[in-house]
Symmetry: C2
Subunit: 625 residues, 2 copies
C-alpha cells in the first residue's frame, strides 16, 4: 500500500503507562498452577500509618507495570495461547482473508493502517470441549478458573477473621458469597450458568475475569469510533485509559469505516475482555441499509470477529416480529441501535428475525471460539415512561428461552438489561431476569433513574447501577456525562469509569463481600489521621482528589498539617476525637458504669415519651381531620 | 469608620440574574389569598412540539424575573412582613446592638462592610401564637400554608387525570401523597409535626417552602466563608447561584471573622430559608476555645441570629455526656464540628451539655421568632465502618425525646441524619428516625455509600440521597465534589445542587408524586423527536447539556438535524421507530391477533423451558457439590 498523504492515520497510538501513585504491581502464583501470574495492585501507605500496603483488584494490565516494555505496534504478550493449546481440542488455521468491506471500503488515506503483526486463529475441533462452560460441566478446572479464583480472593486472606461477619451483615438478596473463592467454586458457578469467563481462545493477551452474581461486581466501558468522529489512535488510547481507572472490560462499538482494523489494534493491546455488537459491522457491509442485511453477511462477520479474538458478542436475537408493535405506543420507541436495525429488517421483509431463526447456527460458531453471548435487550426502555412494559418483558422472556438453547450448545451466556427505570421499578427487573434466565449473569446499562439531567447521566444512572448491582446484577455498563448528547472523550471515559467503579463498590459493600471494606477503612483511617497523601493514593482517582485539595490548600505543608480547609487550623473536630479517646481510655470502671446507667435511663425515658407521643400524635392528626 | 486601605471588602456582591433558557416566571394568586403571588417557572417548547409550556418548581426567587430590579445593597422586597404583622401577636423592638465579637473582632480592612439597610426586628408577645406549628395546632391556616400548598401543586392540575394512577404505581413506604395539596392538608401535616415551614418572622424576604415526607423532596446547599478562605461577596453570589440551579434552601456555615455581617448580606438577599449552626459563631466569640463556651454566650448568639432572620438552627443538643465514650472505638470518631465542640466542652467540665440542660430555654427563644429546630446529629458516622453504631442511635433516641419537648413548647422541628452509610444500612436509619422522632421531617447529609471516592462524593452520596429520599427523607443536604478535600467554589456548588436535584427528583418519581414525571416525559419526547433545544431547555442544567452536545456536533444545523452523534446521519434508531409506528398503525386486526397469539405461545413455551431448567439447573449445581 502506498504511503498516503494524510499521516494522521499512521501514528503509533500513544497510551498512558506507569504505576498509579504509591502503587506497585504484585503477581501471585497459585499453588495449583504456579506457571500463571495473577496481578493485583498494592497501595503503599505512609510509614506513620504503621499499616501494611492495601491490596486492590487491578484491571490495568501490563501498562502499569514498569518492568514491562509496552510496544503497541507488537501488542501484549500472548501467554494465554499456551493454556489453550495445552488442553487441546483446537486447531490453528489460516483464517478468513480481510475484505475491503470489513473496513467499510475505506481506501488510501481513509484506510486505517493494519495491525503490523498477524496471528493465525485457533478454532475448536468438532467433538472436543472448547468453552469454559463445557469444561466446567465436565468437571474440569481450567487455568482461567484458577486465575479468576485467585483474583477474586484479593484481600480475602486479610479479611479472613471478619469474613463470616461481613457476609452475615450484608444483604445479598439470595446471592451466595463464600468467604474464599476456590477454583472448584468457580467451576460450579460456570457449570450452573451463574457466571461466565469471557475468553475467546484467540484473545491470547487476556487476563481472565469472571462475571457472576456471587463474585465482585464488574463494570464495562464503551469505546469505539463513529460515523462522525474519532480515529484508531484515540480508541486504543481510550481502552488503555479506561482500564487504568478500573474498567473490567471494554466494548468496541465502532461504526462507520475501519471497524476491522480499529478492533484488531484494540484486541492485540487489551488485557481485558473485548465485546462487540456484530450487527453494527454487518450493517456497514451493506452500506447501512438494514433491509439488505442477510444471514450470510452476518455469519461472515461473526467468523471475522471470532478469529480476531472478540470475547463476547451482543446479539439481539430476542427482538421478535411478534413484539415490534408492542413498542408503537412508547414515548421513546426502540432506542437500542441493534434492536431497531432488526426491527427495520423484520418490517421490510415481514419475516421473523434471522438472528432468532439462526440462533443455533450462531451458537455453533461462537462455541468453536468460546465467544460468550451477551443477549442484547433490543427493546429496552429509553425513557422512564417506557420502563417495564410489555415489549421489554416479552423480549426478556425470549432471552430466557435462548439462554437455555445456548447452554445446551455449550456456550457461556449473560443477559443485557435496561436502560431507563425509576427506582421503584428496578428490583422487579432483577428478579424477573433471574427467574426467566435461570440465574445467567445480568449485565445492565445503568439504569437511569430520571430523564431530566442530560450532562449528568453518569449520575442518574450511577444511582440505578449501584442499586441493581446490589440486587444482583453481575456487570454494570457505564454511562458517561456525554450520554444522549455526544461521544465521550478521554475525560468523559475516566469520569464514567470512576463513577461506575464507586457504584459497583457500593454494591459489593452492601452485598457483604468480605474484603470490600478494607479499602474504605484504610482510607477513613488516613482521613482521620490527616494522612492526606494516603487519602489521595487510596482513592479511586488520586489525581482529582489531590487537585481538589490543592485548590484550597496548595501548600505542601498542608498535606501533613493536622487540619483541613473545612474547620481551619484553630479548631478541628478530628483533633477533639483524639482527646475523646484519651478520656475514654482513662475512664474508671465505675465511671463507665455510671454513664452506661445514665444512658440506659435516658433511653428508657425516651421510649415512654415516644409511646405517649404516638398516641397523642395520632390524636392530633385525627382531631384535625 | 475610616475608609480602609483594602477595597476588596467593599465591593457590591455581583450576582447572576436573568431567566433560564426558554423560561419565564409565572405567578399564581391563590383564591383564598389573592394578595400573595406564588412563583413557578414555565419552560416553553418549540412550536413543532405542539405542547404547552412545562411548569416547574422554582427556587430562584426574583433574580430570574426580568421585571424585578435587583439591588443587592437594598436586599429583596420584604412582602412577608405584612403577613406577620396582620395576624398580630408580635412586637417591633430595637433589638440587640451589634458587638465587635459578632464579627470575630475584625476591624479596619478586615471588617466586612455592614449591610447598608437596618430593619427593626419583630418578636412574639408572651401568650400569643407565633409559630406555624402553634397556628396549625389551633386550626388556623396561615398565608405561608396557602403559599406552600399552591407551590406544591405545580403541575398537579396538568397531571390530574393520571394522578391517582401515578400515586398507586409509586412505592412511598408509608408516606401519604395526596392528588392535590390543600392548605388544610398542609395545616394538618404541620400540626402533626410531620412537616415544617422554616420561616423566621424576621425573614420578610422569604418565599415560604414546606419540608415534609408527604411533599416534594427538598435539597439544601451549604455555603459560608471559613477561617482559611472566601469573602462576603463570594458567599452572597454562591447563595444566588445555588438557588438558581434549584437549592430549596441554604445553610450559612461561616466560621472565622465577619460571621454577623456575612449572614446579614445573605439573609437580606435570600428568598429561600437560611439555616445556621449557632455554636460556630459562639465558638468564635470565645476565640475558638470550646471549653470557654457558656450558656450566656450561646444564648446571646441565638438572639442575635433570631433577630437577623435565620429560619432554622442546627442544635446538637442530643450529644450527651453519657454518649461520648461510645465514639472512642470508631474509625473516624466524631466528625460533626458541632458535635465535637460540645464533646470537648463536656470533657473539659465533665458536665452534661448546656444545650441539653437549657433545651427548654432554647425553645422559648426560638418560638418567639418561629425559628425551626434542625436537631443536629453530632455523633453521625464519618465512615462506613461507623454507620448505625451505638453512639449514633443513642443520640437519635435523645433527638426523639427533644422533638417532643420542642413541640410542647410550640416549635417546629426537623431531625438531621447521617453521614456515611452503606446501602444495606440506609433503610433502618429512616425507619428508626420516623419511630423515635414521631415522624418529624428527616434531613440527611447524603448518606455516602462508600469512602473510597474523594473528589466524587457528590456521587457516592447522591446514591444514598436518592435512596433515603425515596424511603422518606424530607430534605437532602447536598455534598459537593470538594467534600473532604476543600471548600466548594461556584462550579462545585452548581454540580452539588444539580446532583442533589436529580436525586430528589428520582425519589419523587419513585414515591409516586403525581406531577413528577411530567418533565421526564416532556424531555423524552423532545429527545425522541430530535428537538435538541427543547431537550437542553428541559434539563436541570441547560448550559452543560448544550455545551456537551456542541463538543461533538458544533454546527447549529445539528440542533435541528434528525440524527445524533451516537449513530450518525446514515442510520438512526429513533428514525426507525417512527416507521414502526406507521407499521403498527397500518396493522389489520387479524394481523395483530396472530402476532399476539404467536407472542403468547412463545411465552408459554418459555415458561415450560424455564421450569425444566430450574430443576435441571438445580441438579447441575447439586451434582457438583
Amino acid at each position: 500500500m502506498n504511503k498516503p498523504a494524510d499521516q494522521s492515520q499512521f501514528e503509533t497510538p500513544k497510551v498512558t503507562t506507569g504505576p498509579l501513585p504509591a502503587s506497585r504491581k504484585v503477581y501471585s502464583h497459585p499453588a495449583d498452577a504456579p506457571d500463571i501470574a495473577v496481578p493485583h495492585r498494592e497501595i503503599n501507605l505512609h510509614p506513620s500509618a504503621n499499616e501494611p500496603a492495601v491490596p486492590v483488584y487491578d484491571t490495568s494490565g501490563p501498562y502499569t507495570d514498569p518492568s514491562v516494555t509496552i510496544d503497541v505496534e507488537k501488542g501484549l504478550a500472548r501467554d494465554r495461547r499456551a493454556w489453550v493449546l495445552e488442553r487441546g481440542g483446537v486447531e490453528e488455521y489460516d483464517g478468513r482473508d480481510v475484505k475491503p468491506e470489513d473496513n467499510g471500503g475505506a481506501t488510501g488515506k481513509y484506510l486505517a493502517r493494519e495491525f503490523p503483526v498477524k496471528h493465525k486463529p485457533l478454532r475448536g475441533l468438532p467433538g472436543h470441549k472448547v468453552t469454559q462452560y463445557e469444561f466446567a460441566k465436565a468437571g474440569i478446572i481450567t487455568k482461567e478458573m484458577i486465575y479468576v479464583a485467585t483474583r477474586e480472593n484479593i484481600g480475602r486472606a486479610k479479611a479472613a477473621e471478619g469474613a463470616a461477619e461481613q457476609i452475615a451483615q450484608g444483604e445479598s438478596f439470595g446471592a451466595h458469597i463464600p468467604e474464599f473463592i476456590t477454583p472448584e467454586f468457580v467451576r460450579q458457578e460456570i457449570a450452573a450458568g451463574r457466571a461466565i469467563i469471557p475468553a475467546n481462545i484467540n484473545h491470547a493477551e487476556l487476563e481472565p475475569q469472571i462475571i457472576g452474581r456471587n463474585f465482585l461486581v464488574k463494570i464495562n466501558a464503551n469505546i469505539g469510533n463513529s460515523a462522525v468522529a474519532s480515529s484508531v489512535e484515540e480508541e486504543v488510547d481510550k481502552m488503555v485509559w479506561a482500564i487504568r481507572w478500573g474498567a473490567d472490560n471494554v466494548m468496541d462499538l465502532s461504526t462507520g469505516r475501519n471497524i476491522h482494523n480499529t478492533r484488531e489494534w484494540i484486541i492485540r493491546n487489551s488485557p481485558v475482555p473485548i465485546g462487540t455488537v456484530p450487527i453494527y459491522q454487518a450493517l456497514e457491509k451493506v452500506d447501512g441499509v438494514a433491509e439488505d442485511l442477510t444471514w450470510e453477511v452476518y455469519r461472515d462477520t461473526l467468523i471475522e470477529q471470532c478469529e480476531q479474538g472478540v470475547d463476547y458478542f451482543t446479539i439481539h436475537a430476542g427482538v421478535r416480529l411478534a413484539y415490534i408493535h408492542l413498542t408503537a405506543d412508547r414515548v421513546c420507541g426502540i432506542v437500542s441501535r441493534g434492536g431497531s436495525i432488526m426491527a427495520k429488517w423484520m418490517l421490510a421483509h415481514h419475516k421473523e428475525s434471522f438472528l432468532y431463526e439462526h440462533f443455533e447456527d450462531i451458537c455453533d460458531i461462537m462455541r468453536a471460539y468460546d465467544v460468550s453471548f451477551s443477549l442484547g435487550d433490543g427493546l429496552r426502555p429509553g425513557a422512564i415512561a417506557d420502563a417495564n412494559d410489555a415489549a421489554q418483558f416479552a423480549e426478556l422472556e425470549t432471552l430466557g428461552e435462548l439462554t437455555k438453547v445456548a447452554w445446551d450448545k455449550g456456550c457461556q451466556v449473560m443477559i443485557e438489561g435496561p436502560g431507563h427505570v425509576p427506582m421503584h421499578k428496578i428490583k422487579v427487573n432483577m428478579e424477573k431476569q433471574l427467574r426467566e434466565c435461570g440465574e445467567a449473569p445480568f449485565y445492565t446499562l445503568g439504569p437511569l433513574t430520571t430523564d431530566i439531567a442530560p450532562g449528568y447521566d453518569h449520575i442518574t444512572s450511577g444511582i440505578g447501577a449501584a442499586m441493581i448491582g446490589w440486587y444482583g446484577t453481575a456487570m454494570l455498563c457505564y454511562v458517561t456525562p456525554k450520554e444522549h448528547l455526544g461521544l465521550p472523550d478521554r475525560d468523559d471515559v475516566k469520569v464514567g469509569v470512576v463513577t461506575y467503579k464507586l457504584a459497583a463498590h457500593a454494591a459489593d459493600l452492601a452485598k457483604g463481600h468480605p474484603a470490600a471494606q478494607i479499602r474504605d477503612d484504610a482510607l477513613s483511617r488516613a482521613r482521620f489521621e490527616f494522612r492526606w497523601e494516603d487519602q489521595f493514593n487510596l482513592s479511586l482517582d488520586p489525581e482529582t482528589a489531590r487537585d481538589f485539595h490543592d485548590q484550597t490548600l496548595p501548600k505542601d505543608a498542608h498535606k501533613v498539617a493536622h487540619f483541613c480547609s473545612m474547620c481551619g487550623p484553630k479548631f478541628c473536630s478530628m483533633k477533639i476525637t483524639a482527646e475523646v479517646r484519651e478520656y475514654a481510655a482513662g475512664m474508671s470502671e465505675n465511671e463507665r458504669n455510671d454513664l452506661e446507667k445514665q444512658a440506659a435511663e435516658a433511653r428508657k425515658g425516651m421510649e415512654e415519651k415516644s409511646r405517649e407521643f404516638m398516641e397523642k400524635g395520632g390524636e392530633i392528626y385525627l382531631e384535625q381531620k
